[in-house]
Symmetry: C2
Subunit: 439 residues, 2 copies
C-alpha cells in the first residue's frame, strides 16, 4: 500500500532534441520559468542539452552555446540527463533517437504523432524493456490534456466513442470558408499567410495528420493497436464552398472530424468532413482550436477544447509530461497501464467501412427534366436508404439544378452503391457529393 510521501523529488536533467517552434518554446520555459515549476509542482527541471542540426537556428532561439550540440551522442552519455524530449517530428531520425534514448535509460517525452501512430507499439515495448516511460500528451490536441483524460481520468469508463477536431489548420480553413464564404483555395492561402498552415500542408488537409492522432486516441480509448490502414480518410482538400453554404442553410457547420466508434465490439475509425448540427458544442469550436469529445458509459459525453498547435500551447503539454516524470507518476502509470499495447484486444473487431452507419448529406446535380427526382428516390429506396429531407431550389430553364438530400442512418456501403447508380443516370451531371452528418 502506497503512502503519501512528502519527500522531495530529485532534480531532473533534460535534453531537448529538435529546436523548432515547439522545441524552442520548451527550452525557453526550462531556461526562464524554473521558479514557476518549483512553486507549482515542487520540482527542479534542468535543461542540460539542446540537440539541433541547424545550430544557427538554435542560437537565434537564444539557446546558450554551452548546452547546444548537433549530435545526440553527448545526451546518451550524460548520466545526469534522465529525460529526452523528442521534438524533431517525422519518422527518422526521431525513431532512432527515441529508441537510443530508451536503451540508454532515459525516459522519453514526444509530441510526434506520426512516429507514435506508426511505431508506437515498438517504442512502448522498448520503453517497457528498459523500465522507462514514454510520455506523449503533446502528440494529440496541443495544450488539451486529452491523453491524461483517456488514460487516467476516464479509466472507470467503457469508452464507446471518441470524436474530435484534431487538426487546427483544417479547422482554421473551414472556419474561414464558413464564416467568410471563402473558397478552399483562398482559405488555404489565408491560413498560410496567417501562419496556421505549413508551406506544404498536404498531411493536414488530406486528413493524414488527423488519422495519426485518431490512431493514438483510439488506442488509448479502446485498448487496441490501430494500424493506420484501418482508418478511412477523406480530407478537406476536395471540399466545395457550395456545400458549406448549404450546410449553413440546413443548420449545420462543416468540420473535419476524426471519429472512433465502438458498437457491440465493432470498431469503426474514420476521418472525414462532417456536417455537425449547429447546436452541438463541436460546431462552435472555431479557428485553429481543437476539441475532442469522449463518450463513456459512466461519464457520458465529456469534451476537451483548446489550442491544438503552436509553440507555447504545445509546450504546456510537453512540460506537464516532464513534470509527471519528475513527480514519479509517469513511470508508475506507464509501467502499470496497458498503454500503446501491441496485443490485439480480442473483444474488438474492426468494422469494414461499408458496414459503418451514418447520416448523410448528398448533393446531386440534375437536369430539371420530368422524372429525375423519381429516379433518384427509387435508387435510394432500393439501397435501403431512407430520406430525412429533400430540397430542390428552382432552376433557371435549361440549367442543371442542385438537389440536396439528407438521409437517416444508412450503411456506408449502401450509400456508395446508391451514389454509383445515381451518377450513371443520364439526367445527372457531374458526381454526387456526399458528406456525413453528425446530428
Amino acid at each position: 500500500m502506497a503512502s503519501a510521501s512528502s519527500s522531495s523529488p530529485p532534480t531532473l536533467g533534460i535534453a531537448v532534441v529538435g529546436c523548432g517552434i515547439i522545441g524552442s518554446a520548451v527550452a525557453d520555459a526550462l531556461l526562464n520559468e524554473s521558479a514557476l515549476f518549483k512553486h507549482r509542482a515542487g520540482v527542479t527541471l534542468q535543461l542540460r542539452h539542446v540537440v539541433e542540426k541547424d545550430t544557427e537556428k538554435a542560437l537565434r532561439a537564444k539557446i546558450p552555446q554551452q548546452i547546444l550540440s548537433d549530435s545526440i551522442a553527448p545526451v546518451l552519455k550524460d548520466k545526469r540527463t534522465q529525460v529526452v524530449v523528442e521534438l524533431i517530428g517525422g519518422l527518422e531520425p526521431a525513431r532512432t533517437f527515441v529508441l537510443q534514448a530508451l536503451k540508454a535509460g532515459k525516459h522519453v517525452v514526444t509530441a510526434n504523432k506520426y512516429l507514435l501512430a506508426t511505431h508506437g507499439v515498438e517504442i512502448a515495448e522498448a520503453a517497457r524493456k528498459a523500465k522507462r516511460c514514454v510520455q506523449f500528451e503533446a502528440s494529440c490536441g496541443g495544450a488539451i490534456p486529452i491523453v491524461a483524460a483517456l488514460s487516467e481520468s476516464l479509466l472507470a469508463n467503457d469508452i464507446t466513442r471518441v470524436v474530435g477536431i484534431v487538426n487546427g489548420t483544417c479547422n482554421y480553413i473551414l472556419t474561414q470558408m464558413t464564416q467568410h464564404g471563402q473558397t478552399y483555395v483562398a482559405a488555404l492561402a489565408g491560413a498560410q499567410a496567417a501562419g496556421f498552415a505549413e508551406r506544404d500542408p498536404t498531411f493536414d488537409v488530406n486528413g493524414t495528420d488527423s488519422a495519426h492522432k485518431l490512431a493514438i486516441l483510439s488506442s488509448l480509448a479502446f485498448g487496441v493497436e490501430v494500424p493506420l490502414n484501418r482508418i478511412e480518410v477523406t480530407g478537406i482538400d476536395k471540399l466545395s464552398d457550395v456545400d458549406l453554404k448549404f450546410a449553413k442553410e440546413f443548420g449545420y457547420v462543416c468540420k473535419l472530424l476524426a471519429i472512433g466508434e465502438k458498437t457491440d465490439g465493432n470498431l469503426s475509425l474514420r476521418v472525414h468532413p462532417t456536417f455537425v448540427s449547429q447546436d452541438r458544442l463541436l460546431a462552435n469550436v472555431h479557428g485553429s482550436f481543437n476539441a475532442i469529445s469522449v463518450t463513456g458509459h459512466a461519464a457520458g459525453e465529456t469534451t476537451y477544447v483548446g489550442r491544438g498547435a503552436g509553440g507555447k500551447p504545445t509546450s504546456s503539454a510537453v512540460l506537464a509530461d516532464i513534470i509527471d516524470i519528475a513527480l514519479g507518476t509517469a513511470p508508475l502509470l506507464f509501467g502499470r497501464l496497458p498503454l500503446l499495447i501491441g496485443k490485439p484486444n480480442v473483444n474488438i473487431r474492426f468494422l469494414p467501412g461499408s458496414q459503418v452507419v451514418s447520416r448523410n448529406y448528398l448533393r446531386v446535380t440534375a437536369f430539371d427534366v420530368p422524372g429525375v427526382m423519381a429516379h433518384i428516390t427509387n435508387i435510394l429506396s432500393r439501397n435501403n436508404i431512407s430520406l430525412a429531407g429533400v430540397n430542390q431550389h428552382e432552376s433557371k430553364a435549361g440549367h442543371p439544378v442542385p438537389i440536396i438530400i439528407t438521409t437517416h442512418e444508412s450503411k456506408d456501403g449502401d450509400v456508395s452503391a446508391a451514389i454509383k447508380a445515381i451518377d450513371q443516370l443520364k439526367t445527372i451531371t457531374g458526381n454526387t457529393v456526399r458528406i456525413r452528418v453528425l446530428a
Copy 2:
C-alpha cells in the same frame, strides 16, 4: 530516479459511506464492473463496506446485506479497507468521518464540495500528518476531470483565470428560461419535476454551491487558501425573464458563472449571472451540463465540458480517484504537490469587490420624460463609466420604458455608485438591474 515498474498493484479494499444517488452508483460499479477496472487499469477493487444510516434505502439500492452497516466503526477497524469514500454530503458527520478515516490510516475520496470549501485545509493537513491522501475530483464538475487538469496537466502554467458553469441546476433553469421564455419560477418548478433540482434548491440557485466549487478550483489554480467570505456571490433567484430576452436581443446568453481572475497578483473571486457573448463556447453549454475554462500563460484557454451531476457521471470521477489510489499515483501527488494548502500565497492579494473591473448590462426603468437620458448618462460619466451602447425602445404614452445600457470595462464600485444615484432620480421607477457581461 523512479523507473517504470510493471509490478501489479495490490487489491484495494473500499468502503462507501453514504448510499444516496452517487454512493449507490459507485457501489453498483464496484460490485458489477470489476472486470472493466481490471482490464482498463489492471487494478482489483473490492467493495468491503457500505455505510448508510437508512439501511432500507441501501438494500433497495441492492447493497448486499453482509457488507452493509449503519456505523463507520467496522470500517475504521478493518485493516483490509484502505480507502474510505465519503458520499454523505454536508458538513457533519462527513467531516468527523473523514478525519477518523485518515487517522485510522485510510485514504479518503470525497465528492463533498461544501466540506472541502469549508474544512479543506484542516482535512488536507490531517491527511499529510497521516501520510494518506484526499482525492476530490468529483467535488467540482461531476464527470469533468477539472481537478486533474488544474493540479496535474496544467502544472507548467501560471493560471490567470478560471471561469465556469459549475452548477447544473442553475444551467438547466437558465437554459429553459432562455430557450423557452419561461419565468424563473416556472423553470425552477420544471427543473424539480425533471429531477434536475432538489426539493430545497436554495444552495444551488443562490450561488452558494457554485461558490464552494470556485473556492476549491481557485485554491488549485492559484495556490491560495480561499475563505468563502472572499467570494462575492449573486444567485439566479432574482433574475427576470425580461433581462434574458434582452440578452438574446443583444447577442448574449445568460449563464451563472463562477469566476476566479488574477491580474498583477490581485485575485478577484465572484459568482454571478453573466451575459456571455453568443459565440463563446460557454454560451453554447446547455441544460444540466457544466463547463470550466482555464487560462494559463502557456496553454492559453482550455475548456472542459461534461455532466456536472448525476449518480453515474459523478461515479466516473469517484472511481478514477479510487483507481489513482490503487495505481499509487494519488498518494505520490498528494504528498508532493501543494494541494489545499493553508499557508497564504504571499504573491497574491484578494482584490476588494469594488475594484473588480467588468463590462455591464444595466436596465433602468424610466418615465419617458424630457431629460431622463441626459440625467442617466451624466451620472455614468461622473462615475468614470463609459458607455458601449444605449437602447431605448419606444414606449406607450405615460408608461415607464426600459432603457438598456451596456458599459465598457468599469470598476464595480463605480457602477454601484452610479446605480445608487440613478435609482434616486425622480424620473426612474423601480431599481436598476445590473448584470455583468463576459465579452
